[in-house]
């Protein structure tokens, strides 16, 4: 797993939608931490903007969005 990418995703989540405690692990559940649909919309836009990927509705699903590593995996699949 690309640690660098996970770190970038973490920064985006932390800065644009949901402040994460230092103890938050890349496999911890973001929804459990309080991610809700309002934040999710902002997160998707931020990921597209910062990481130059296009996320489509088919990419959604809790398996992709519930953890930082899940998001990173999705982003790396989508990267050109």
């Amino acid at each position: 797993m690309d640690e660098e990418l996970i770190r970038k995703v973490r920064d985006i989540v932390h800065e644009s939608v949901l402040p994460l405690p230092d103890s938050f692990h890349s496999d911890d559940d973001l929804f459990h931490e309080g991610l809700e649909s309002m934040a999710l919309m902002q997160l998707i836009l931020a990921l597209e903007r910062e990481l130059h990927v296009t996320i489509s509705p088919e990419d959604l699903g809790r398996e992709n969005f519930s953890t930082l590593s899940g998001i990173a995996r999705l982003v790396s699949r989508k990267s050109p």
């Binding site: 644009s16 939608v17 949901l18 402040p19 929804f31 459990h32 931490e33 309080g34 991610l35 809700e36 649909s37 309002m38 934040a39 999710l40 919309m41 902002q42 998707i44 836009l45 996320i55 489509s56 509705p57 959604l60 699903g61 809790r62 969005f65």
Partner: protein
């Protein structure tokens, strides 16, 4: 000659109803009056359609009620009366989803069972309060606009904005905050395909809305619309935090009305989008608009103690504890969504002292719900309905004691809190809410 009540409770939201019930349940109550300016009980939980009760449970793996007393029969009756169980986990914490009309009906039935002890004044507005020999003289208008007066030995202010404070010549406070919390409009959705709101579909909607906003097809104000199924089949709710104008003032009716109207037009736009875009929403009915805006800010009384965010975060234990807060400090100030700060030990809840429910100026005036004495940050936690129910019952029980024995008999906060805890415990054996 005015009639004299023991306790007058002003404001018929969940905290006001709990205050009236607890005041009437204590021994030798000689009369309790509950004044509500609108035609319905339940406050924000009914009139703004806030459809989840937060702060009822402690954040365990298994939900456990944070408070006893009336909260026990209230929770049981609300859950039993709904078509499907409203218990749900949101993030790390448990909530109880409810259908607003069912909440209103439950509160009314609780009061009806105590109709001999509690006079309910719906559509009655308190116009003035002054001190008198027996305590306080309340001037109020009925729905025909006629003025009447009543005396009460003790008062409980559950108006969310500390309405009684200026009448009594004392200031009300709103504590400094860099930004005010955003208000919300919450609307009912009817006419969608049943079972449409799956987790997956909700995620799809979130992306579609985000992308349509970016493409300029939807107003940016719709970013952040949050959908939730109601325990009532065929009903869901959409909640939208709003960005009011610069001049936003939550206590100004004109500002609130303007913001509500802006919210309504955003919701209508959203409904058009949903109808056009999804089969599940093709036959959507017109939105079920709320009577009032969901306002998260309020004015507070100056209490004998001002509860702080730090008290909650560090689970500070008070010897005069009368209720437990269990909801994290939730602040909705930014367009990127809410922030949550969880208590150090979320499983044991945080202590609320009786001093934060008692006026610093008048020992026979108590307050509950959103106008108790707390900092802006602490209100991010204690403003929720579950905690309002708990502070309401405590304020009502305390007011009844002070009305019966006089304020000097209950000068000590520890002594008062101990008796309030005892009285609330004994309320558990005669629950006002129906058990089946």
């Amino acid at each position: 000659m005015s009639r004299t009540l023991d306790v007058a409770v002003i404001g018929g939201g969940v905290s006001g109803v709990a205050a009236a019930l607890a005041a009437s349940g204590s021994s030798e109550a000689r009369g309790v009056g509950l004044f509500e300016a609108s035609s319905s009980l339940g406050g924000m939980g009914v009139r703004a359609q806030v459809n989840t009760i937060c702060g009822l449970y402690l954040g365990d793996e298994q939900p456990r009620l944070a408070n006893g007393g009336l909260c026990i029969s209230f929770e049981k009756a609300l859950r039993a009366g709904q078509k499907s169980d409203g218990l749900a986990k949101m993030g790390r914490v448990w909530v109880l989803k409810h259908e607003p009309a069912a909440l209103g009906a439950l509160l009314r039935s609780g009061l009806a069972r105590r109709s001999r002890e509690i006079d309910l004044y719906l559509n009655h507005q308190v116009k003035a309060v002054e001190r008198c020999a027996d305590g306080f003289r309340i001037q109020y208008s009925n729905d025909a606009g006629q003025l009447h007066t009543l005396d009460a030995r003790a008062l409980v202010d559950c108006t969310a904005d500390a309405h009684l404070a200026p009448f009594l010549g004392v200031g009300r406070e709103r504590h400094q905050a860099d930004r005010l919390q955003r208000p919300a409009i919450i609307c009912g959705i009817r006419g969608m395909k049943s079972g449409a709101l799956t987790d997956r579909f909700l995620l799809t909607l979130a992306v579609d809305i985000a992308k349509s906003v970016r493409a300029g097809l939807l107003s940016p104000g719709l970013l952040g619309a949050t959908f939730r199924q109601s325990p009532q089949p065929g009903l869901a709710f959409v909640s939208l935090d709003l960005d009011p104008l610069e001049s936003w003032e939550p206590s100004d009716p004109v500002s609130v009305h303007k913001t509500l109207k802006e919210g309504e037009s955003l919701i209508k736009e959203l409904f058009g989008f949903l109808r056009d875009r999804y089969d599940a929403f093709a036959y959507l009915e017109e939105p079920l608009l709320p009577e009032v805006l969901g306002v998260r800010e309020s004015f507070q009384w100056r209490g004998q103690y001002r509860l702080s965010g730090g008290d909650l975060m560090s689970n500070t234990s008070f010897s005069d504890e009368i209720a437990k807060a269990s909801w994290p400090i939730e602040l909705r100030e930014k367009a990127t969504g809410p922030s949550f700060e969880y208590f150090q030990d979320p499983c044991s809840g945080a202590s609320i002292p009786v001093r934060s429910l008692r006026s610093a100026y008048f020992p026979s005036v108590f307050m509950a719900g959103r106008c108790l004495s707390a900092t802006h940050r602490a209100l991010g936690s204690v403003r929720v309905m579950g905690t309002g129910l708990a502070t309401g019952q405590a304020a009502g029980a305390a007011a009844a004691l002070v009305a019966r024995d006089g304020p000097t008999a209950w000068e000590s906060a520890d002594g008062l809190a101990e008796q309030v805890r005892y009285d609330l415990k004994s309320l558990e054996s005669m629950p006002p809410f129906p058990s089946s």
